[in-house]
Amino acid sequence: MVQKVHPYIPNMVPKVQEEMLKVIGAKNIMELYSCIPDELKLKENMNIPPALTEYELRRHIEGILNKNTSTKEYLNFLGAGCWQHFIPAVCDEINQRSEFLTAYAGEPYEDHGRFHALFEYQSLVAELVDMDVVNVPTFDWGQAAATSIRMAARITGKKKVLLTKSTAPERRDIMINYGTPDLQFEFVQFDVKTGAMDLKDLEAKLTEDVAALYFENPSYLGFIEEQGPEISKLLKNNQSLMVVGVDPISLGVLAPPSHYGADIICGDLQPLGMHMNFSGGQAGFIATRDEVKFVQEFPSRLFGIVPTVKEGEYGFGDVYYDRTSFALREEGKESVGTQTALWGITAGVYLALLGPDGMYEVGQTIMQNSQYAVQQLNQIPNITGSCLNSPFFKEFIIDLNHTGLSVEELNKRLLEKKIFGGKDLSREFPEFGQSALYCVTEVHTKEDIDYLVQSIKEVIEK
C-alpha cells in the first residue's frame, strides 16, 4: 500500500525523502534519532485517536461545540472582568487577516505594518488615558496590574503595596502570586454602603515603606470612586505612587485616572473590540508619563517611531530594548515574550472606528442602560437594584438578601428562562450576603432589560 501523505506534511512523499536522506548521508530517518538513548525512547504508541480528515474533524468539533449554549442564544448579564460589547465588523476583518494572524517576531522591515499598527494602538490608547507612554499589551488586566505595582516598587525602592479590598479577586490573586516573595501586600477597607475607599484606613496603612496604592475605577463592583484627588494627595505626601486600573470603554465619559493623580494606569483591552472567547479576549495595557524613571521600568516592548534613510518614510523599532529580558535575561525588567499583540492592533482599529464621539456615545449608552436596569429592578419588592448608593458604570450589585433566595437558586431559575444571571458574589464578598454582580452594556436593548426584570420578578414571586 502506498503510504498516505498528510496535507500538512509535504515531505512525507517517499521519493523526496530518499533524495534528502542521500544529501544527509543517512539510511533512514530513524538514524537521525540515534542521539536519543534507548531508555528515553517511548516504547508504546501514544493513545491518541487516529487522524480525522478535514470534513470529519469539522463534524467532530462542531458536535462538541454544539453542547455549548452561547450568549448569542441566551441573554447574558455576566461581566466581572469579561464583558459583552458591540464589536464592529472591521475589527474582526482586520484581526482575521492572514498576515496579522500568522506574523510573529518579524523585523521592523518585513513586518513594518505590524510595528506601525501597534505604534498607532499605543498612540490611540494614550489619548484615551491622557498619558504619553503605552506598552505593547501584556496578558490581561491582572498581569498589567501586577507589573504596574512591580514597576512602582522599583521606581520608589519600596516593597509594600496597598490594594483596596474591592479589587477584583482574580486580579488580586494574580498580583499576589506575581509580587511575592519580593513585595508585601496590605488591604485598605471600603465603605460597604458606597464602595468608597476608607481614607482613614488608607492613612493608617500609608507607612513610609509603601511603594504604591492600587485601586480600580470604575471598580470591580461597578461603583465610581470619586476621591481620586484626595487619595493622590495622601500618596504624594508619602512619596508613594498611585496605580489605577480602569475599564477603557468608560473613558469617553469618565475622567481618566491621570486627571486625578494616577502615576501608572492599567486595564483590559477586551471591551475594545474583542469577542469574549471564554476568556481568550483579555489583553492588558499599562500607561505612564514619558519620564525615564517610568519608561526604563517597563518590561514590555515599546514601539517608537524613527526616520529611515529615505526622506518621507516612517520607520518603527523597539524603544530602549536593553531594559528587556530578551536583552539581559534575568538582569532585565521582569520578563517579556508572546503576550497579546493582536488584541492591541484590534483595540487600535476599534478606537479609530469609534472616534471621540463614538467613545462618548458608547459610555453614555452604558450609563443609561445600566441605570435603567437598576431603576426597574428597584421596583421589584424585596430587591435592591444596586446595593451601593453611589454612581456606577456598567456593573452593579443586586441585593437578594430580603428575598429568601440564594443567587445560585435565582441563577438556576433564570437559566430556565434563557438568561445568564449575574456573578454570585456571596463567596468573594460575604459582606454583601446573597448578592450578584450584574453587567449591562450598550448591547442590551430595553426589551432585554425588561425581560430580565420581569423574569427576576417571576422567580421571586413564585
Binding site: 465610581i224 469574549m276 481568550g280
Partner: protein, 533 residues
Amino acid sequence: MQRINRTNKTRDFHQAKWNEPIIFELHQPGEKGVELPPVNKEVALAVGDGISVIPEVMQRKGRLGLPEIGQARVLRHYLRLSQETLGSDFNVEIGQGTCTMKYIPKINELLIRDPKMMELHPLQNEETVQGMLEIFHKLDLCMREISGMDYFSFQPGSGTQALFAMASIVRKYHESRGEGDQRNEIITTIFSHPSQAATAAVKGYKIITLHPDEDGFPDIEKLKAAVSERTAGFVVANPEDTGIFNPRIKEFTDIVHQAGGLCFYDQANANGLLGFTRAKEAGFDMCFFNLHKTFAAPHMCGGPATGALGVITKLKEFLPAPIVEHKDGKYSLQYDLKQSIGKVRSFHGVAQTVLRAYAWIRALGAEGLKEVAKIAVLNNNYMYHKVLAIRGASAPYVKGHRLEQVRYSWEQMTKETGVTTEDVTRRMTDFGLHYWTSHHPYIVKQPFTLEPTESYSKEDLDEYIHALEQISKEAYENPEIVKTAPHNSTIHKMDEQDFLDHPDKWCITWRSYLRKAEAPWSSPYKLEGPRLR
C-alpha cells in the same frame, strides 16, 4: 512565443509599500467609522442623560483626541498595514528558529469562529459550556500521552507565563515543606530561552546559569558543582536552542532530585520529539508546551497564546485554579485546590487556542504526530548539510545529526567580509524571507537559528538555502549591497542615530512625536542600567 526565463534561484520579490500616514493624519472632522447601538428613547426618558449623575471630578472634560475617519478609510489603512506584514502564511518561515513556525490550518480558524466558542462568557453555568470543558479535558488527555505528565492546565497565556507558573509552583512546593527560604536558587542553561532565567528571578530566585561543555552539551560536572541544599529547581530545554539533544538528561534530573530540587522542562518547542521521547521518562516533574508553536496555533503578531502546563500528580494541587475535572460523563471546574499558586491569567486562559491545538492533534492522530517529528528532523538535517556548505557559515559544537533546529554562525564570513548577521537579517527581507539572529547573549558568534519544521517542502527549503547562498556570495563580492539592505522592502534602512534610546528623542506615541519632533534635545544621554527587579 518565446520561453520566459524562470531559472532564477532567488525570488524576484518586492514587498508592498503603501507609505500610509499615521492614523491621526487621516482625521477628517465629522467623518464616522461606525454607528453604535442607540439608546432606547424610553430608557433615555426614564433615566435622563445618564452622565449628570457622575460626580464632577469624575466627568471627562473636553473631547477625546481620537481621529474621526470614515469606515472605508479605516479598513483600507489597516488592510494596507496588513499587506506590509509578512505573516508565516506568506513566507517560508524557517528563519525564526526555536519558535516552530509551522503551517496554521485554515479549518482550525474556521472552527474557532463558531459563535458557540467565540461568544461564550467564562463564568457561564457549567451546564452551558460542557462542550468547551470537554475540549479542555480531551486536549489534557492528549497532552498526557505526549508528555507522560499526569495533569495539564491551559491557563498560562504563553511559554513565558507557563515558566513563571512553574517557578511559582517550585516556590510553593518548597514552602509547603518548610524549605521555602532555604531553597533560593534555580539552575538553568545559557542555551535556554531568556524567560527561564527572567521568570525565576521575578519569583525571587537567584539564577545559576550553566554554560555548555566543548561539544555544546550542558556540562554535567558544572551541574554537580552547582546543586546544594539551596537548589529549588532546575529548568532546561532539551534539545536546547542548538538542536543538540542531551542524552544524559536523566542523570541531570537525578542529580537535582537527589539535592531536593524539582525539575521542569521547557518544551515550548517539542517538534522533533512527538512520540519519540517524553518529559516523564527523562525524570521531569513538570513541563510545558507552547500551543502556538508545536501545536500549530497562530502566533498572532505575538499573542494571545497558550503555554500548556503539565505536572506529575504530587504537584497537581499547586496548579493555578480552576482546573477541569471529568466525572460520570460530566465536566466541571474545580476551584478548590489546597496548595494552588492562585492565578496567573484571568479565568481559563486562551480558550480558542486550546481548541485549535486539539483540532490539530485530531487531524494528525498518534501516527501523524510522529510523522511531524520525523519530517521536522529530516528537514532540519537536510538544511544543516546544505547550510554548512555555504561559504562563511558554520555550526559550532558536536558533529553529527541534530534534531529539529540548529544554531549556526556567520563568524567566519563576518571576519572575512565585515557583513554581520544583522545585515543578513535585512537582506533576507529583500527575498521575501524572514531571518532572525538569535537570543542574546551571542555565545555562538554572529548567530542565526533555523528551524524548518515539517511544514515545508524540499523546494521551500531549497529556496531558503539559495537566498543564504546568494547573500554569502554578495558578502564576499559586493558587501555594500548587504550592508545597505533592505532594498525591496516596505521601508529603507532606519536611521542609526539614537532615536530609540535617547529619552529626548524616543517617541512611543504620536502625541510624543508631535511634541518632540520640533523640540531641541541635549546629547549625549546615558540611561541608567537595571536596578531592582
